[in-house]
């Protein structure tokens, strides 16, 4: 079960080191995208979107269909993000907006119900079998060579896109008029509505934005991950672990933790494939016990 030799061999060869690190970083970036969507929605609406993994799945499957239909991967990513956003907005209007003021139990149940419906709908539309997209045609070019290791160009695209989009969203929330209105409405919705601003529209838009991040993560993951109904759950758990380790509300913390987790997963799959999850949990428990505010979090009480 333990294969530490493989791990040590990898550490002594730069080629393996480069390959595993780049794999770790792309896992981390996907986690970061999903986690920042969760954080965005939680930070403003104070609802934990437990169904966030379902939007990741919706994004991945829509991207697969769009790619098969059009052959353009860029369009597929756009389609994945858009479909997740649209479904997210419908879900927010029909269900989540009715439980904003309810307790956590009701919110969890609504999200749980959505995941059941979404998983079954995906099964009906795309079937229960595994689907694979493969590296899109645009990126079927010779890989970059770096210190003896290979880095596929698609990885570079994935990392750049996710970083750019996540940072753009955070800047949007912090500095744009939209972001200011949304944050003000989160503080005092009735005051903001008195000013003639239609608060529900802004809340729905923000929810859709968070879901779009998840959908985009799904679309970006589609070429490198196999797709299956229910694929959202494990990434949701991982992204939650990311927010705990990084510190809730801290975006740099989430980025750091996401890369840490991604690299752990990547190297762990060489050295201790059966206990990768266990190691991640030990990291999380250690953080909770010794540094409850997270690596870069500042607020001590939770």
């Amino acid at each position: 079960m333990l294969d530490l030799d493989a791990l040590l061999n990898c550490f002594s060869a730069t080629s393996c080191l480069v390959t595993q690190t780049s794999t770790g970083i792309i896992i981390g970036m996907l986690l970061f995208l999903v986690a920042s969507g969760v954080t965005l929605i939680f930070g403003v609406l104070h609802v934990v979107n437990f169904a966030h993994g379902a939007f990741y799945m919706i994004g991945a499957y829509t991207a697969w269909s769009a790619y098969t239909a059009t052959g353009s991967y860029y369009l597929a990513v756009l389609a994945g993000a858009l479909s997740a956003a649209v479904i997210g907005i419908v879900f927010e209007r029909l269900a989540i907006s009715r439980v904003y003021k309810e307790n956590l139990l009701m919110q969890l149940l609504v999200c749980y119900a959505f995941v059941l419906v979404a998983d079954d709908a995906v099964k009906m539309i795309w079937g229960a079998e595994y689907l694979a997209m493969g590296i899109p045609a645009e990126f079927r070019v010779p890989p970059y060579r770096f210190a003896g290791g290979v880095v596929p160009p698609f990885y570079v695209f994935l990392v750049a896109t996710s970083l750019a989009v996540a940072i753009a969203c955070l800047l949007l929330i912090r500095y744009s008029r939209f972001g200011k209105i949304v944050r003000a409405a989160a503080q005092n919705a009735s005051m903001v509505s008195v000013l003639g601003i239609r608060v529900p529209v802004y809340f729905a838009a923000l929810f859709g934005l968070g879901c779009a991040l998840a959908g985009m993560a799904g679309a970006l993951a589609a070429p490198v991950r196999s797709m299956t109904p229910g694929m959202g759950l494990s990434i949701l758990i991982d992204s939650f672990i990311v927010t705990v380790i990084g510190g809730m509300g801290s975006i740099p913390g989430a980025l750091l933790a996401a890369i840490l987790l991604g690299v752990t997963r990547s190297f762990g799959s060489l050295g201790f494939p059966l206990f990768v999850d266990g190691v991640m949990f030990i990291m999380m428990v250690a953080i909770l016990v010794f540094r409850p505010q997270g690596l870069l979090g500042e607020r001590a009480p939770r």
Partner: protein
């Protein structure tokens, strides 16, 4: 000074009720012609133990655990793995099954104690997620230790169940009686906890944790103990299921089992002791009705949950209680109407 009455104490009443219920179940077992009813009831007993123990956390302590199925499955796995060890069965002989049940109960309690003492540090939302995360860890451990647990395939090859006290668990009726005993004992334990002063502390933590702390209640300890008790009682449900199927599967610890347990509590009624059991029966009816029309039970369940949560907004027994209250209130409203003009 009132005259001493042996059944005046709530504990005694609960015990008497449990004894009557157990006799009732045995009677059903004795007169039931076929095995269908007994097998259905055995399945309901397992689910009933899962939700009643979870009710202790959600309904009475206000702790929303999304990972309760882990303890349920852990009970089944410990029970099965212990009995599949030839040395254990050889050493304990006819006492194997009761001892294995006890080991499942205590072992799961220990597991819940560890998880609980980590999770109870955190508030609501983190608590829910972290319990779910531990459930996923449990599943990945089960799937990883293929050599001991059978991995994805589950604990196969049958679980040996040597007869004890004249009960041969291979027989449907004996299996049913054993399950009924565990069910009644588990529900009685939950009942006694809620009636005790510890149960009062649980409700105080639920209603106002800060006030409970001011009054000298060690809220952290209370939460950890409640979590441990709930986990141990849930393990009995897993034992029932393992006895019933003569196996244990990783699906028992899947997140949808936990989610469904939460929904069954909400469906039956969050604010009454018996609500979750009503929810178990109602869920079973929903499940069987859907299977008549479609195999997409998940979609149907999801839509049912959305309907109950968004439209009805409360469970069956809660709805009945409100209805009764409204009916009692109605006459006075009418009198006022008469008086008004």
């Amino acid at each position: 000074m009132t005259r001493f009455h042996p059944f005046a104490h709530p504990f005694a009443r609960a015990a008497l009720l449990a004894f009557a219920a157990f006799c009732g179940f045995l009677l059903v077992g004795a007169i039931s012609p076929g095995t269908w009813l007994l097998d259905t009831l055995t399945g309901l007993f397992a689910a009933g133990l899962l939700v009643m123990s979870l009710h202790l956390l959600i309904g009475y302590t206000g702790l929303i655990s999304f990972g309760h199925a882990a303890y349920y499955a852990s009970g089944g796995y410990i029970f099965g793995m212990v009995l599949q060890t030839p040395a254990f069965v050889a050493a304990c002989g006819p006492w194997s099954v009761p001892l294995a049940t006890l080991l499942a109960f205590c072992g799961t309690g220990l597991f819940a104690l560890v998880v609980g003492s980590i999770c109870a540090r955190l508030s609501e939302i983190y608590f829910a997620f972290l319990t779910l995360a531990f459930q996923m860890l449990f599943v990945s451990i089960i799937q990883g230790l293929v050599h001991y647990t059978g991995g994805d395939q589950g604990l196969m090859g049958g679980i040996p169940r040597p007869a004890f006290l004249g009960l041969d668990l291979v027989q449907v009726r004996d299996r049913y009686a054993f399950s009924a005993f565990l069910f009644v004992a588990g529900v009685l334990a939950v009942r006694l906890i809620t009636l005790s002063s510890f149960g009062a502390s649980l409700r105080m933590v639920r209603d106002n944790e800060r006030r409970a702390a001011f009054l000298g209640v060690n809220t952290y300890l209370v939460k950890v103990l409640a979590f441990t008790a709930a986990g141990s009682i849930a393990s009995l449900g897993g034992v029932v299921l393992a006895v019933f199927t003569s196996a244990a599967y990783p699906e028992w610890a899947s997140w949808s089992v936990s989610g469904e347990a939460i929904f069954m509590i909400m469906l039956g009624g969050l604010h009454s002791f018996w609500g979750p059991l009503v929810g178990v029966v109602a869920m079973r009816i929903i499940n069987d009705l859907t299977l008549l029309y479609t195999t997409h039970t998940e979609m149907a369940k999801g839509l049912a949950i959305l309907f109950v949560v968004l439209v009805l907004k409360r469970g069956i027994l809660d709805w009945l209680a409100d209805w009764r209250k409204a009916r009692h209130a109605a006459p006075s409203v009418k009198e006022q109407d008469h008086a008004a003009p």
